[in-house]
């Protein structure tokens, strides 16, 4: 029987080369690193700076994981195999994080972070959100543990992703469109560009500014930080218990990188320690709207647009990059987690970027074949899995992370179904081969 893991896995302990540290810009008189103590829950900081390979999951968090539906299932995608014509040639599996009550993997770190804020005596947590998946997870975790939540939601999503915004509000959270008039950073951005669609980098700056106004507030981070990435490894730790065979390919979509990391790191760690997975290819699927791992440069850059946070060495498109609005709003971040970036630089992780049109097609195939509406973010992983399955050697095994469902992304599906009705989406099943 698969059980909820007792430990999170910290890949930093197993990296082939040391992870470059977070950095204060040289010219600063003060330290942004020192400021973290006023921003993040203290226990999260401790997890960010630990030599431990395994971090015990607090019993209260494990309990919440169980209640929320962990372990999540690993499903053989026979419907998809048939739909794309690879049945009998390739086996495809997906780990389904969409069964969690907020519909995505984000709850895996929202619960411990809100719990850690509570340990600090905080009354309120604040954060940013793109698609709203993260904001919803924080809103639910805050409701579970009795804290107030404030969410800065990128303006384009605030306007488009109404169901998730309303769900957050129903759970008691306050949701501001970002750029907002609540913070100086937001007001400045609006002065410069009144029609600013928002960006995750800017929404982070706003959430942090808001937290710094009051010592009873804590910021909770949706992705990118090593500690957050570590929390998501419950996915990959379970997967190791569930996999019937060692895969040739492991695929996940990448926003900040926590879903990809959480899904792959326990296996990648085994590879790094020489304990298996040596033939596995690890593929990061991103959006052409923010192709940091494919087209970005590996360098020190700001984690947030306002440079409140320290600099991190990562693949980045530049902290001021404002990606075009897309339905997969959770993938619109300029950088990728430092450890994932390092693994990409070392060639242990590959990257592929897909356009919105390509992934819609994959979403349509998958929805009909597996009877699940995937989240627009997760659709990037599906697209990569389909491509890989079609060109893979006979007998190949492909596993991807279905990081969320798309039941609240009706705006995106409205677009697909209208095209389907219009007959504009070509029958892709065998057409490509």
């Amino acid at each position: 029987m698969v059980d909820v893991p007792r430990y999170w896995y910290n890949i930093v302990a197993d990296l082939p080369v040391p992870l470059p540290p977070l950095l204060d810009p040289l010219e600063d008189e003060d330290s942004r690193i020192a400021l973290l103590v006023k921003i993040l829950p203290s226990r999260l900081i401790d997890e960010e700076y630990t030599l431990s390979r395994l971090i015990p999951i607090p019993e209260r968090v494990r309990e919440a994981y169980r209640k929320a539906g962990r372990p999540t299932p690993l499903i053989r995608a026979e419907g998809l195999e048939k739909a794309i014509g690879v049945h009998g040639r390739a086996r495809i599996y997906y780990k389904y994080e969409g069964v969690l009550p907020t519909g995505s993997h984000k709850l895996n770190t929202a619960v411990p972070q809100v719990y850690y804020a509570l340990l600090d005596g905080a009354e309120e947590v604040a954060t940013e959100t793109g698609a709203g998946q993260w904001g919803l997870a924080v809103s639910m975790a805050a409701a579970m543990l009795g804290l107030k939540a404030t969410v800065f939601m990128t303006r384009s999503s605030y306007e488009k992703k109404k169901p998730r915004r309303i769900a957050m509000q129903a759970l008691g959270a306050t949701v501001h469109p970002s750029p907002s008039t609540v913070t100086e950073a937001g007001r400045r951005a609006l002065r410069e560009r009144p029609d600013h669609p928002g960006s995750l980098g800017l929404a982070i700056t706003e959430a942090i500014e808001y937290v710094l106004e009051n010592p009873r507030r804590r910021y909770v981070a949706g992705s990118v930080l090593e500690s957050v990435v570590t929390h998501q490894t419950v996915i990959g730790q379970e997967l190791l218990q569930q996999l019937p065979e060692e895969p040739d390919y492991m695929i996940a979509c990448v926003g900040g990188g926590s879903n990809m990391a959480g899904f792959t790191y326990p296996a990648l760690g085994m590879r790094l320690r020489g304990e298996g997975f040596d033939k596995t290819q690890f593929i990061a699927a991103e959006s052409t709207a923010a192709p940091r791992l494919s087209k970005g440069t590996y360098r020190y850059d700001g984690l947030d647009t306002g440079l409140v946070l320290p600099l991190a060495r990562m693949y980045s498109l530049g902290k001021d990059y404002v990606p075009p609005p897309i339905h997969a709003a959770g993938l619109r971040y300029h950088g990728a987690a430092p450890s994932l970036s390092l693994l990409r630089k070392l060639g242990l992780v590959e990257a592929a970027a897909y356009s919105q049109e390509e992934v819609f097609e994959a979403a349509r195939i998958f929805a009909r074949a597996e009877a699940i509406l995937p989240a627009p973010e997760s659709t990037h992983a599906i697209k990569a899995a389909i491509d890989v399955a079609r060109r893979a050697e006979p007998g190949s095994v492909i596993v991807f992370n279905l990081s969320g469902h798309g039941l609240m992304d009706i705006d995106a599906y409205e677009k697909i179904s209208s095209r389907i009705v219009d007959g504009q989406v070509p029958e892709p099943a065998n057409a490509r081969r």
Partner: protein, 255 residues
């Protein structure tokens, strides 16, 4: 050069706050210090915290930087063992010169805090060049560091392995540093484990020794006191930490 166990060290940027007073400060701290860690002033102390960064800025602004400042040490005559700290970034093309200069003034090793992060491929060359110059290597590790690298360091017979406990010098975050020291101790075996970053109290220093550190080094707290309250206050902090370190009972019953 051998370092005493347990040991207490003070970090100073060479030439800080200005050359004449620097010599004086070395002299007055000496009786409460087992060894010194001395930083070669640089324009880019990129992985240091605000206090150490400011000390570099100040010395560099006065026109002093790099290997040249070692002349100051020759003039001063330093009566304790010492090691040097420099950024690899400044010496990528002149590593041999740096290490030879260090050996000629009697340093035990040159610690390059950015070596592992920014020039991991140059680790072996650094070891080779250190030995060639008659020095032992010494290595920097952080509180998030690959275990295999700590073990690799240990196998290279270093003068010490420096564990930076906090994200940057002088910056104290709520990190379970004693737990990290215990784990590092297990990974490096009996090698000399020097710990530092943001230590400013005798109790913290003693706790680190009890957790398995061989020595502690204090930098920012001393630099700040020198700047704000004068050398006597700095000396009194150094002496109290020195005493705490030497009276702490270690996990193997020494001290």
């Amino acid at each position: 050069m051998e370092l005493s166990r347990p040991g207490f060290s003070v970090y100073l940027t060479i030439g800080f706050p200005e050359p004449a007073r620097f010599s004086q400060i070395l002299g007055s701290l000496s009786s409460c210090v087992d060894f010194y860690e001395l930083g070669l002033p640089t324009a880019r102390p990129k992985y240091d915290g605000p206090t150490v960064r400011a000390s570099h800025r100040r010395v560099v602004a006065a026109g002093l930087r790099g290997v040249e400042t070692l002349k100051l040490l020759e003039k001063t005559g330093i009566d304790k063992p010492f090691t040097l700290m420099a950024y690899m970034e400044d010496y990528v093309d002149s590593l041999r010169g740096l290490l030879e200069a260090a050996a000629s003034v009697g340093a035990g090793c040159v610690l390059l805090p950015d070596l592992a992060f920014d020039y991991p491929e140059m680790l072996d060359k650094y070891v080779e060049e250190s030995e060639r110059a008659g020095l032992r290597p010494c290595f920097f590790a952080s509180s998030r560091f690959p275990h295999s690298w700590l073990q690799r360091y240990a196998a290279l017979d270093p003068l010490y392995i420096y564990l930076g406990l906090q994200p940057a010098t002088g910056v104290e975050l709520p990190i379970a540093v004693e737990k990290n020291v215990k784990l590092a101790r297990m990974l490096v075996g009996s090698r000399y484990l020097l710990t530092g970053f943001a230590i400013r109290r005798p109790e913290t220093a003693a706790a680190l020794i009890r957790s398995g550190a061989d020595a502690v080094v204090v930098g920012s707290a001393i630099l700040r006191l020198i700047e704000e309250k004068g050398v006597d206050e700095a000396r009194s902090l150094a002496c109290s930490i020195h005493q705490a370190v030497h009276s702490a009972k270690t996990s193997h019953g020494e001290g």
